[in-house]
């Protein structure tokens, strides 16, 4: 059932599916300077974005960031206060929801309780006045795709949560929409089922070739399924990139902090050749890092480094550019990995992640051990906002 997990390496993006890098590619959806206000509240703030055919596009952000409003504008349940929304080059703002080649899978699934699974899936096809045998054929296909054949005659309240989720998916895919919107589709499922279903979703997306736009507040889910992730805050898209790009090269402290665990160190920058030295505490060696944006001497900057990029050792590792000494304050043992919280002499706390390649009895460090943290000058990211 599950397809191989999509690699999240950066190399993947350049060779495989990446229409956003192709200047000739025609976007399926275009938001052009879209603003949406509810009274005084600005839900979407002058937003411009292109989404391409066959993409699995994730809108990620905390609640109230505008991701659901954006999706509801695509479905036609909300109209923008200003700006244009184009689908395949045509402005769809004035088109009512029932006339759009867009279908939505609702967070609550919104299955019709008075209709059987079969009739739920056939509902949209019937509205198109298709022939009875065409409808039967298509419903059978959808039931096969979502493995629901033996539940066709049941009512929605007679099946389990996971099955309901698949009925909702089958119903929204039945009309073969150009664009499928998924509003927190896996929110109601438990963790194990959610993981299974994520791969199932990707599988179905690949099989049908439909463009998916998914709304979620679960960063792990967005990273797993999406070809691109848009991190949103206060009605703006802070960063739009591949999952690997978002994780490895966040463009702001907000994004770095929102996705995964990260250590943020603030300090003053000094440019030395092709490296920047960040002095973050008196008496401590500055952090040395590569940089890719203009920096002036003395500028206040933030430095973000992920715990798994930092090595914990008895001695400083000679081949790494950065070394910090500290004392282990806490160890979070998770089985496969352990998180070390290391207190620096300057008072700051850095977390580092180490794989537990040895068994417990032979592990190197314990509480209050003096250790060296080492990392390379390209492991972290220099952030100016």
């Amino acid at each position: 059932m599950a397809s191989a997990p999509r690699s999240s390496g950066i190399k993947h993006a350049s060779t495989a599916f990446a229409p956003w890098e192709d200047p000739d590619a025609k976007p399926l959806i275009q938001f052009k300077n879209v603003t949406k206000k509810f009274g005084d509240f600005t839900a979407i703030d002058d937003l411009t974005i292109d989404i391409y055919q066959r993409e699995f596009f994730a809108l990620l952000g905390p609640s109230g960031c505008g991701k659901t409003t954006l999706m509801r504008m695509l479905a036609g349940f909300e109209n923008p206060t200003r700006g244009q929304i184009l689908l395949g080059g045509q402005d769809i703002v004035a088109v009512p929801p029932n006339k759009r080649p867009v279908n939505m899978m609702f967070q609550s699934y919104a299955l019709f309780p008075h209709l059987s699974v079969w009739d739920n899936i056939a509902f949209g096809l019937r509205r198109d006045k298709l022939d009875q045998d065409k409808i039967e054929e298509r419903v059978a296909e959808m039931l096969r795709l979502t493995r629901l054949e033996q539940f066709a005659k049941r009512k929605p309240h007679q099946i389990s949560g996971g099955q309901r989720q698949r009925v909702a998916l089958a119903r929204s895919l039945a009309k073969a929409p150009k664009l499928l919107l998924l509003d927190e589709p896996l929110g109601a499922l438990d963790k194990k089922l959610r993981n299974e279903t994520q791969f199932e979703l990707m599988d179905i997306q690949e099989k049908t070739g439909t463009t998916f736009v998914i709304v979620t507040h679960d960063q792990e889910e967005a990273m797993t399924v999406a070809s691109r992730v848009a991190v949103m805050d206060h009605g703006k898209m802070i960063q739009v990139d591949t999952p690997a790009g978002i994780y490895e090269a966040p463009n702001s402290v907000y994004v770095a902090d929102f996705i995964g665990d990260v250590n943020i160190v603030e300090g003053n920058a000094t440019v030395q050749g092709d490296r920047v030295h960040i002095s973050f505490a008196e008496g401590a060696d500055p952090i040395i890092t590569a940089f890719d944006q203009p920096i002036s001497d003395g500028q206040r900057v933030s430095y973000a480094i992920r715990p798994e990029k930092i090595s914990v050792d008895r001695e400083p590792l000679a081949d790494r550019a950065n070394h910090v000494r500290g004392k282990i304050e806490d160890i979070g043992y998770l089985g496969d990995v352990s998180t070390y919280h290391v207190r620096l002499p300057s008072g700051g706390l850095i977390s580092a992640l180490m794989t537990n390649s040895r068994r417990l009895a032979r592990r190197d460090f314990t509480w209050d051990d003096e250790v060296w943290l080492s990392w390379t000058d390209t492991a972290g990211v220099l952030l100016t906002k």
């Binding site: 036609g76 349940f77 029932n98 309780p113 509205r127 049941r154």
Partner: protein
């Protein structure tokens, strides 16, 4: 299970006696052979036979049924529309005022409702008869229907309608194919409520009826003022019978549906 206690048994008995004694006496006396209501002279069904030969009562019964069916149907349509708009349109200017005005007739004394309707009918020159009773009953039953239907609509998941729109329904189709079937039980109970209210209304009907049309409650009331006759007892017994059958079957249907649903959900969880 609680154990038997004399206190519980006594209070239960007293309660039921208090509630049902008058009706039981009425039913018993409807089978009395004597013409004198208070003297028992043996079992007989002759009052029932006589009742069905009383043209006046039969005509009134027909009028009552016509009024009840037509007015409760109108009231259901109007009340459902009002409830739908008030629940669904979100916040618009004067929404609180409108919903307050829908519910106000519920607490308005019937005498006032009846009198104001009477003045209206006289004012517009409408002759009092079956039409005016229907109009009056529609007016006051409509707010009851709207209360019942709107309480169902507030718990109705709005995304069901959005899903219908999303799958290609026009707003009207979405209402007809999705909303209506789901809220149908509430609409039906609204209709039943309006029907019963219309059946036993005396005050409003007496203001709005004319010489051409009299309803059964008016007939009974005016007959009783000339003295209680066993015929009236028979008529009342029939009405009690109809209401009992209606209420019991309605609650049985509801109960059976609830039990079936619970069983289905259990079997779904097991599989």
């Amino acid at each position: 299970m609680k154990r038997f206690s004399w206190f519980n048994a006594t209070s239960l008995t007293l309660g039921f006696v208090f509630l049902y004694m008058p009706m039981i006496i009425l039913v018993i006396y409807s089978f009395n052979a004597s013409k004198l209501v208070t003297v028992w002279a043996g079992f007989s069904t002759k009052w029932y036979v006589e009742l069905f030969h009383n043209e006046d009562f039969l005509a009134a019964a027909v009028v009552t049924l016509k009024v009840a069916v037509v007015s409760s149907t109108f009231a259901t349509v109007l009340g459902t529309m009002a409830a739908y708009v008030l629940v669904r349109q979100g916040r618009f200017h004067g929404r609180t005022l409108f919903s307050g005005m829908i519910y106000a007739p519920l607490v308005m004394p019937e005498v006032i409702t009846g009198l104001s309707l009477l003045l209206l009918f006289i004012g517009i020159g409408l002759d009092r008869g079956i039409v005016t009773i229907i109009l009056a009953h529609t007016t006051f039953a409509m707010c009851y229907v709207s209360v019942v239907v709107s309480s169902r609509l507030t718990t109705f998941d709005h995304s069901l309608e959005e899903a219908a729109l999303d799958l290609g329904c026009s707003p009207f189709e979405a209402f007809r194919l999705v909303t209506l079937p789901i809220i149908a039980p509430a609409i039906i109970s609204g209709w039943l409520l309006a029907f019963t209210l219309s059946l036993d209304d005396l005050v409003i009907a007496s203001f709005t009826s004319g010489p051409s049309a009299t309803t059964l409650p008016i007939k009974i009331f005016s007959a009783v003022r000339l003295g209680v006759s066993p015929e009236i007892n028979a008529l009342s017994t029939i009405m009690i019978g109809i209401v009992t059958v209606g209420v019991v079957s309605a609650s049985l249907i509801t109960k059976r549906a609830a039990v079936k649903r619970a069983r289905d959900e259990q079997s779904a969880e097991r599989s």
